[in-house]
């Protein structure tokens, strides 16, 4: 009985072994076999994510990163913050209780690349925006252990002294548009001035930011220094917008799993 059930498998195994024994003499047949066998899984799992509409929710209020925030995001990547901080709240109830509504796909729709992360040496940052003041962030980045004594985070005091490089921002926004972020020509052309304007509310450049990115955009001295725009400005501006691109996640979300 047992044997009867197993015999088709044994025959399949036998057939498989013999087929392999034959193809194994031909290196190109082996090459093709490997490519086909390894190709199937990736294709079946990845291709539909681009075509199935439900994969990414609709969020009409979704806004784009301003040039200053995008510059901050680039600094976040440069310093490797993603190695310790995730930006993906899972659908588990304890995570919802700790960090806020779980993350939706649409919230990282324009994130090239995504920064979901894989290790929480520090807490999740997906809903960090507006949780602390700008001043708290600056003090924390300058000396984490002065604010949180148990912290193991490195200090980033040098960001406060480095003038933000903004000339390349039009190029960077244009590259982002090339990969699918809907920046307008006007936004790209003015990216340099807008980045500086967003951190200097008392200048003319500041008005352009609200005009092009909406009145809700925060325009202020993020790092507390009035006379210059530093990398600290950019990074804090980015941290303060995390979770704030759309309100979609706050609209009657089903409860998390236990």
């Amino acid at each position: 009985m047992f044997r009867k059930i197993l015999s088709p498998f044994a025959r399949l195994f036998e057939f498989h072994a013999r087929t392999h024994y034959r193809t194994e003499r031909h290196s190109m047949a082996l090459t093709l076999g490997i490519i086909v066998a390894a190709g199937v899984g990736g294709f079946v799992e990845i291709a539909p994510l681009f075509t199935i509409d439900e994969t990414v929710e609709a969020a009409p209020d979704m806004r784009l990163y301003t040039p200053l925030e995008q510059a901050g995001r680039d600094i976040y990547i440069r310093e490797g913050c993603y190695a310790c901080h995730s930006q993906m709240i899972r659908t588990l109830q304890d995570e919802v209780d700790r960090y806020g509504p779980y993350s939706l796909a649409v919230e990282s729709q324009y994130d090239h690349p995504m920064l979901w992360g894989s290790k929480r040496t520090g807490p999740d940052l997906a809903r960090l925006g507006n949780k602390y003041s700008d001043d708290w962030h600056v003090r924390h980045l300058v000396d984490p252990r002065a604010v949180v004594p148990e912290s193991v985070m490195p200090q980033y005091a040098f960001l406060l002294d480095r003038t933000l490089e903004t000339e390349s921002l039009p190029d960077r926004l244009a590259a982002l548009r090339a990969v699918g972020v809907p920046y307008s020509d006007e936004q790209i052309d003015n990216a340099d001035a807008d980045a500086r304007g967003q951190a200097r509310p008392d200048t003319d450049a500041a008005d352009g930011v609200s005009k092009r990115y909406g009145d809700a955009t925060s325009v202020r001295h993020f790092d507390g220094q009035r006379d210059r725009v530093t990398e600290m400005d950019a990074l804090v501006a980015y941290l303060q917008i995390l979770g704030g691109l759309t309100d979609a996640a706050f609209a009657n979300q089903p409860p998390g799993e236990d």
Binding site: H16, A37, A38, G42, E45, R90, P154, V179
Partner: protein, 550 residues
């Protein structure tokens, strides 16, 4: 080193160096003020150094050897030495990274030395620098021996080896300057990625051409794994690194994918970097060096076929287990979990096949530390794949994800399996290549074995503890229904484990340094001995590729 190239080959090598130097110069000039400019300078210097080596050989007389009667081992030897160099650098970085988590101010207060910048130096240093060089070097050795044919080409093996190292150097120096795409294990920027594609295509052509010369109807199992490693890594690398540079004169680029599609593509890549970089290639090593050292044929040829195709087919589906409970659609998560569990079958078939091969040779395992390295590697391979399949189950992953449990799993695989099989292979191949009787000191090999084993066990246990403790603390509620612990509470709980991990890592690193010293002394001081066989031949009797069944 280059004396064994013919005059024409030396000229080709020189031409490649000149082209590289020009590329470096252009990069340095165009990328002024950007890290790309520094990378241009690095390319230029690298091209200059290789040029010196080639020029030193260019006046030498033509090589006298008969190429049909010997293997070409110079690039293999260089690759092994370079791999040991990266082992010390990469693991040294690992210890430093570990120490920073225990004592966060252990850095020179510089921008380049922060955790986020040196962590990828560790991961790329050990995976690509140490692992990659060991894979390339042993693949040259294994493909020649199992095909009983000399390498198909003399410039291309050097091109692949040195070109790959240029990639590693550009990658590691880039992280310190803040050049990264942020994609784990695919951090280098666009120009480094393009360069790796070129190197990899040459590698594939070299492999296929050498196989085509073989004096043996069948392609030995180790070669299938190396071939799968080369092919699939190429596919993964190209797709995951698709990006648009912000400017052709700067390093910064933006991934072609965003959000959920990017996450899936990244972990399709990431998990299969584990499968085809950290597993397939090293299984190739295992399938050659373990039977060779034990002088026993592989236990079951059929089982090796089954597990090969199982691994190639199943692994690709498993990437989504890195994204459980995230915004990735649930059907993809379920597929990833299912295939990860099925993956246990071919994984254990491979580990079992290796251990059964040792049946009848256990006394050798007892006496020979080199063989013991390989045996323990197979055990850790079985262990970490079991753990992986377990962690891929959604309910388990809800606890383990984001915690040190993942890091413990990684190092059970990376130290226990990848590093141990590599050291075992190095110890068995070095005396043969340098024509020595044995390693300089078997006692040091023995010491290395116990240091490595102790280091791995301490590391893995510390991380299991800290991961599970942290995962449980995160989800503990008080009686009144609020979360019981703040995030900083868990940090305090982690500290002793982080100290233990740094100590375990230091033991492991000490072992690697002993290995480097022992290999150096073997090359310099061990008594010479010419192997009786070990040359290309069409006769199975004079040189069996691997131990054959009675």
């Amino acid at each position: 080193m280059m004396e064994r190239l013919t005059g024409a080959e030396r000229q080709i090598a020189l031409m490649i160096c000149v082209v590289m130097a020009i590329v470096g110069l252009v990069m340095a000039a165009a990328g002024r003020g950007d890290p790309m400019g520094s990378h241009g300078a690095i390319v230029l210097i690298a091209a200059g150094i290789v040029t010196c080596f080639v020029l030193r050989a260019i006046g030498e007389p033509e090589p006298a050897e008969d190429r049909t009667t010997s293997y070409y081992d110079d690039p293999t030897k260089a690759g092994l030495v370079i791999a040991l160099f990266w082992a010390v650098v990469g693991m040294g970085m690992g210890v430093w990274v570990a120490a920073q988590l225990a004592w966060p101010d252990l850095r020179f207060d510089a921008a380049w030395s922060s955790f986020g910048r040196i962590r990828p130096v560790h991961t790329s240093g050990v995976i690509f620098g140490f692992g990659g060089n060991a894979l390339i070097a042993t693949s040259y050795h294994v493909m020649q021996r199992t095909s009983r044919a000399r390498l198909a080409g003399h410039v291309s093996p050097w091109f692949v080896l040195l070109g790959f190292n240029l990639f590693c150097i550009v990658a590691a120096s880039g992280y310190l300057m803040g050049v990264t795409q942020s994609k784990e294990y695919a951090e280098p920027e666009w120009y480094a990625d393009i360069w790796l594609v070129i190197v990899w295509v040459v590698y594939f052509v070299l492999y296929i051409r050498t196989l085509a010369r073989r004096n043996e109807p069948h392609i030995y199992v180790a070669n299938w794994y190396y071939l799968a490693f080369i092919l699939v890594v190429a596919i993964l690398h190209i797709v995951n690194n698709l990006a648009v540079p912000a400017s052709l004169t700067g390093a910064k680029s933006y991934s072609a994918f965003a959000g959920v599609q990017d996450a899936m593509t990244q972990w399709w890549y990431g998990h299969n970097a584990v499968a085809f970089f950290l597993t397939a290639g090293f299984l190739g090593m295992l399938y050659y060096f373990l039977p060779k050292r034990a002088e026993r044929p592989i236990y079951s040829y059929r089982l090796s076929i089954l597990s090969f195709w199982g691994i190639v087919f199943f692994y690709i589906w498993a990437g989504s287990h890195h994204l459980h409970y995230t915004a990735l659609p649930q059907w993809v998560q379920t597929l990833g979990m299912t295939f990860s569990v099925m993956l246990l079958v071919p994984s254990w078939a491979s580990a079992g096949n290796a251990l059964m091969t040792l049946n009848g040779a256990w006394h050798k395992v007892r006496d020979d530390a080199t063989l013991r390295f390989m045996m323990v590697a197979a055990v850790f391979y079985g262990l970490s794949t079991f753990e992986g399949s377990f962690m891929a189950v959604r309910a388990v992953n809800s606890l383990s994800h984001y915690t040190d449990w993942t890091v413990g799993h990684v190092h059970a695989g990376a130290m226990g399996w990848v590093a141990l099989i590599t050291f075992g292979s190095i110890y068995s191949v070095v005396p043969l290549l340098w024509k020595r009787e044995t390693m300089y000191s078997w006692k040091l090999v023995e010491w290395h074995f116990w240091l490595a084993l102790a280091g791995t066990v301490i590391y893995v246990f510390a991380m299991w503890n800290s991961g599970i403790v942290q995962g449980l603390m995160w989800r503990t509620y008080t009686d009144s229904g609020t979360l019981a612990y703040s995030f900083t509470d868990t940090l305090v709980a982690m500290h002793p484990y982080y100290v233990a991990r740094a100590c375990g890592g230091a033991l492991f690193l000490t072992g690697a340094i002993l290995a480097a010293y022992n290999v150096y002394m073997t090359i310099r001081h061990a008594p010479e001995k010419r192997p009786e066989r070990d040359y290309p031949t069409s006769s199975e009797a004079t040189e069996p590729a691997v131990p054959a069944a009675e």
